[in-house]
């Protein structure tokens, strides 16, 4: 009915649809970036995405004004210092979507993402301009908000290459990385329908939840008709640090999480453990990574009834400082052999820190980038809370190896259950003028 009302009175809007008369530069209706970069902008606002001068100036002004370039050798949102908020979304391609539709979608998403990452609005006229007889191009809820460090990271599910039934919808089966197969069933997995799979994923991270949600909302809208949302997840608090400049945050068990995470300041480790080198193949994935997402529900009500001694024993760290129980401070290497009374190790055999440690897993590490979530409550009055685990690694085997060890023995399993699971191949970053995943279709 609203549409009918608007359609009934078109006349007074004509002059307002003229972009020239608008006070804001085109495509930059959203924020103060215009003062820094607006003068040189022409066209759809995409040109501002990589303006590093503007970014540096804006980033220096306030942390939430951080701007990360969308284009680059690697996708942003991996070694980028973990932002505070997440909106993660997985999409199914339409049943009638063609290979051309898929490429066009990636092209459109790339252009829109570059705009969004720069803190600009979607489209030529943005959120509050353009034809008065058309809905605005941008949904508008991010007007006035800075870029907030938004990154958008894209991934491809195994099903994109070949459906479980063996259908090669887009002529990609031959290009599927041999390692890109659905994760195995791990002991204790209680996966729920609708919390895994999909053809494509987008990880949107930002320091402002409204900015992250705005990005997924607008990218979903762009996809309508070609792809639709299959599942999505909001995360409100980061549980990992990916930079030594960040303090270690806490998970909903109240413990520090990600102390031993891979940090951007360790480029050699990142190269060794996170990026797929050309030698690993396939060529189109070089400089990319593999993304594992797991929705881990925590039974926090039971946890909160657990005595402190056991809580610390389960993690193998102190609850306050986060130091390993073998001594020292947070970043002291755990000493798994140090024994206490009765020759029992101070860090229990089933402690989380022991089982997850690279020394117990053939040196396997992951770059973790998870988020706390609370999605209301369940029918039993318990918070539907937990950790939306995200990790990036050079091979899914790194995750599987650690997860198998954890699933078998981790004392924490008593308080967690894995209800969602997904694996995506993350292509390398896009060059300006190209699009995400371009090499896959070359």
């Amino acid at each position: 009915m609203g549409r009918t009302d608007r359609g009934a009175a078109p006349e007074p809007t004509v002059h307002e649809a003229d972009p020239v008369s608008r006070p804001e530069p085109r495509g930059l209706s959203r924020r103060g970036l215009l003062g820094l970069a607006g003068a040189g902008v022409a066209g759809l606002g995409l040109g501002v995405g990589g303006d590093r001068v503007a970014q540096a100036a804006v980033a220096a002004a306030s942390p939430s004004a951080a701007v990360y370039p969308f284009y680059g050798a690697h996708q942003a949102g991996i070694v980028t210092p973990a932002q505070d908020r997440l909106h993660f979304a997985a999409f199914d391609l339409a049943a009638d979507a063609t290979r051309d539709d898929l490429v066009a979608l990636l092209r459109d998403w790339t252009a829109a993402s570059a705009s969004l990452a720069a803190g600009a609005a979607i489209g030529q006229f943005g959120a509050a301009s353009g034809s008065y007889d058309a809905p605005p191009e941008d949904t508008g809820e991010a007007q006035g908000l800075p870029a907030s460090g938004l990154t958008l990271t894209f991934g491809f599910d195994p099903a994109l290459f070949e459906t479980p039934a063996g259908v090669d919808r887009f002529g990609l089966a031959a290009r599927r990385p041999p390692l890109l197969v659905d994760l195995p069933h791990f002991p204790g997995d209680l996966l729920e329908e609708g919390r895994g799979g999909g053809d494509l994923c987008i990880q949107a991270c930002a320091d402002d939840p409204q900015v992250a949600v705005h990005a997924i909302r607008n990218l979903s809208r762009i996809a309508f008709g070609r792809a639709s949302l299959r599942w999505s997840q909001l995360g409100f608090g980061r549980t990992s640090s990916t930079s030594t400049s960040q303090a270690t945050p806490r998970n909903l068990f109240g413990f520090k999480d990600g102390t031993a995470n891979i940090k951007a300041e360790e480029p050699a480790v990142v190269d060794e453990q996170v990026w797929v080198p050309a030698a690993d193949g396939p060529a189109w994935l070089a400089g990319g990574s593999y993304l594992v997402a797991r929705r881990i529900r925590m039974t926090i009500e039971a946890w909160d009834r657990t005595i402190l001694r056991e809580q610390e024993a389960v993690f193998g760290r102190t609850k306050g400082e986060g130091a390993p129980l073998s001594g020292g401070t947070e970043f002291t290497e755990p000493d798994f052999s140090l024994a206490g009374r009765g020759d029992t190790p101070l860090i229990d055999a089933a402690a989380h820190v022991r089982l997850a440690h690279p020394a117990q897993n053939g040196g396997a590490r992951m770059l973790r980038r998870g988020y706390n979530f609370v999605d209301g409550n369940d029918a039993l009055g318990r918070l539907d809370a937990g950790l939306f685990f995200i990790s990036f690694q050079r091979s899914p085997e790194q995750f599987s190896r650690v997860q198998l060890s954890l699933a078998r023995h981790d004392a924490l399993n008593e308080y967690t259950r894995h209800v969602g699971s997904a694996l995506f191949a993350v292509p390398p970053g896009a060059r300006r003028g190209s699009h995400i995943g371009a090499a896959l279709f070359a």
């Binding site: 204790g188 039971a302 056991e310 001594g327 140090l338 101070l346 029918a379 078998r408 008593e414």
Partner: protein, 389 residues
């Protein structure tokens, strides 16, 4: 049940929490306590003060040495341990909270956890008007409670052995109706002492693993593997009933593993804290597995397990209730009330000799049970700190 790996193993933790022992960070909200620091170095054991008023006293023990250390508070004979903080790694701090009557004590540290310890010093607790009345020596009654609980565990496992034999016989001879009838009542003996049974990390997965807990290629044995064969209605398409050889194998393993469990519980000893925490553990079993209908995925006899877990928790509570009444009558009254309310809800679901199936419960009925488990859980949380402090 989902495999549990209790890190405070019952068998190995003797003396973990002494009768007059310690509760880390118990910190009795609202009430004041004397706060002292202890520096345990390689050569010294320095307590920030040599005296404190009677009542709750917190020692924050910092290990500044390079070995694992322990801190002891000893009675006036210099031998009997009143409280201890053990396994403090280098650089770490740990709290020891104790409720102390006026009198003479000693403090000492034991870096390296060997020898006689160092820095043994006199420590005086002075009379204090604000101090809670110090309870009489309850050691004998606590010892009785501990012994009684060990007997209860042995008795339940003995009944489990007998019941399992009857169940296995019905199952292997093809009297599946009889096996189905025996399934829930026999498992009740397991569920009553579930946290004890699960403390044997190798036995629990053999006996009580659910299908979702399997890893690829793992052999599935125990109660739930048989459960699926007995109640295949919800099984995946193409599920085929086990052959007689497989049934014989599963039944044989069930009997053998239960016999091993029976051997292992013969020498168990419990501390008071293990009993009270065991009650909480049983309630957590209810809230994570039974009230959600996940435990008995094929038979839907979850409420029978629910009742058995609550039985086990009630027994644990009843064993220490007399002591609690003296220490905190209000908490005892609240626990009495919440246990009764939970039992009332369960009784309303009785059908025949057992209970209605989980799948027959309405969402509102399930919700009421879940809420009451939480209502009982909160006061139960306070039990350990109240009793052992």
């Amino acid at each position: 049940m989902r495999a549990r790996f209790p890190l405070l193993g019952f068998a190995s933790a003797a003396g973990l929490l002494a009768l007059t022992g310690c509760v880390p960070n118990a910190g009795a909200p609202g009430s004041s306590h004397a706060a002292l620091t202890v520096d345990s170095s390689a050569a010294a054991c320095t307590v920030s003060a040599a005296e404190a008023p009677a009542g709750n006293v917190r020692f924050r023990v910092a290990n500044s040495g390079d070995q694992v250390t322990e801190f002891y508070l000893l009675a006036d004979d210099g031998l009997r341990i009143v409280g201890e903080a053990e396994n403090i790694g280098p650089g770490l701090s740990r709290d020891l909270v104790v409720q102390l009557p006026a009198g003479s004590y000693f403090t000492a540290c034991k870096p390296g956890m060997a020898g006689d310890g160092i820095g043994k010093a006199e420590f005086t607790v002075t009379e204090s008007a604000g101090a809670a009345p110090v309870s009489v020596d309850l050691a004998a009654r606590i010892e009785t409670a501990n012994t009684n609980y060990a007997s209860y565990v042995r008795d339940q496992v003995a009944q489990l052995v007998t019941g399992t034999a009857a169940f296995a016989a019905a199952y292997t001879t093809g009297d599946l109706d009889a096996a189905r009838a025996l399934y829930a009542p026999t498992r009740a003996h397991w569920e009553r002492v579930e946290t004890i049974a699960e403390s044997f990390g190798d036995l629990d997965p053999k006996l009580d693993l659910r299908e979702a807990d399997l890893e690829e290629g793992q052999d599935w044995t125990g109660w739930h593997a048989i459960e699926k064969d007995l109640w295949p209605a919800d099984a995946e398409a193409g599920f085929i009933a086990y052959g007689s050889e497989e049934r014989g194998r599963l039944a044989g393993l069930l009997i053998a593993d239960t016999a091993t469990l029976n051997d292992k519980v013969q020498d168990l000893r419990f501390t008071l804290a293990q009993q009270t925490n065991g009650a909480i553990g049983l309630l957590d079993e209810v809230s994570t597995g039974k009230v959600t209908g996940e435990e008995e995925f094929w038979s839907h006899t979850d409420l029978s397990d629910f009742q058995a877990n609550v039985d086990g928790a009630s027994v644990l509570y009843a064993g220490v209730r007399d002591i609690l009444v003296e220490k905190d009558a209000e908490l005892a009254a609240r626990l009495d009330r919440e246990f009764a309310a939970l039992q009332e809800l369960l009784d309303a679901q009785r059908a025949g000799d057992g209970f209605r199936l989980y799948t027959e419960l309405s969402p509102a009925e399930i919700r009421a049970l879940a809420d009451q488990v939480n209502a009982l859980g909160e006061p139960l949380n306070q039990l350990t700190a109240t009793l052992v402090l």
